[in-house]
């Protein structure tokens, strides 16, 4: 699964994207796995209420299932316009 990071999430984790081998059933499960990896992930995912997630390029919730998913992206609330 390809995992993407944007804005300060990208800065905290240190890479814009990476390939992740996971059996996580939901986005929340994936977040738990990443948090357990290293401090920089724990820092980026300290408060998921401050984050948004897109699964296969569609905005969704942290309880979204990951079966068959190719791309997950984490980022702060958007500031377009």
């Amino acid at each position: 699964m390809n995992v993407l990071y944007f804005a300060w999430v990208r800065e905290r984790i240190g890479v814009p994207s990476e390939s992740v081998e996971t059996q996580a059933a939901t986005v929340n499960d994936l977040v738990e796995e990443l948090r357990a990896r290293e401090d920089r992930y724990a820092a980026a995912f300290a408060d998921t209420s401050a984050l948004r997630v897109a699964v296969d390029q569609e905005l969704t919730d942290f309880d979204a299932p990951l079966a068959g998913v190719k791309e997950v992206a984490f980022f702060p609330p958007m500031t377009g316009g």
């Binding site: 804005a7 300060w8 791309e71 609330p77 958007m78 500031t79 377009g80 316009g81």
Partner: protein, 147 residues
């Protein structure tokens, strides 16, 4: 419908003219243009806009389709830039064409409200003292409740 995501500057006058021209069946054209605004102190050096290339156009298209489903519109344009912009530069524009002015106005406001909080762009302000990500505003999230 036209959805444009680009790094280069755009010619607002030309886009507005092209959008408004030749519309015998649309009586009302509304445009909105966003400009990089320097704060009172003149401290802003640049505004950097990051986006999510694979998702951005699809997200903007979905927002434009929502607007077309809610209002009677003849056409919609969304143009949004990314990259490094300086104060006074135009960041983006939307345009709507409708038979009646209320539809054109409301649809343009709707597009802007959704662009603010639902399109995958992130702004970073650069000043002489450093750079910081622009925080999403509660009022922008609240603005969505209107629709």
């Amino acid at each position: 419908m036209r959805i444009i995501v680009q790094e280069a500057p755009f010619d607002f006058g030309q886009q507005a003219q092209a959008f408004a021209s030749g519309r015998q069946n649309m009586g009302a054209i509304v445009t909105f243009t966003g400009v990089v605004r320097d704060d009172a102190s003149g401290a802003l050096t640049a505004m950097e806009i990051e986006h999510y290339p694979g998702m951005t156009e699809a997200a903007l298209t979905a927002i434009a389709n929502d607007a077309c489903a809610r209002w009677s519109l003849g056409d919609v344009l969304i143009l949004h830039r990314y990259g490094r912009l300086t104060p006074g530069e135009m960041i983006m524009m939307v345009a709507t064409a409708a038979r009646h002015r209320r539809d054109a106005f409301e649809a343009a406001e709707f597009l802007m409200d959704y662009l603010k909080s639902r399109a995958p762009f992130w702004k970073r302000e650069v000043t002489a003292e450093g750079a910081s990500w622009v925080a999403a505003k509660d009022e922008d999230e609240a603005a969505l409740d209107r629709w």
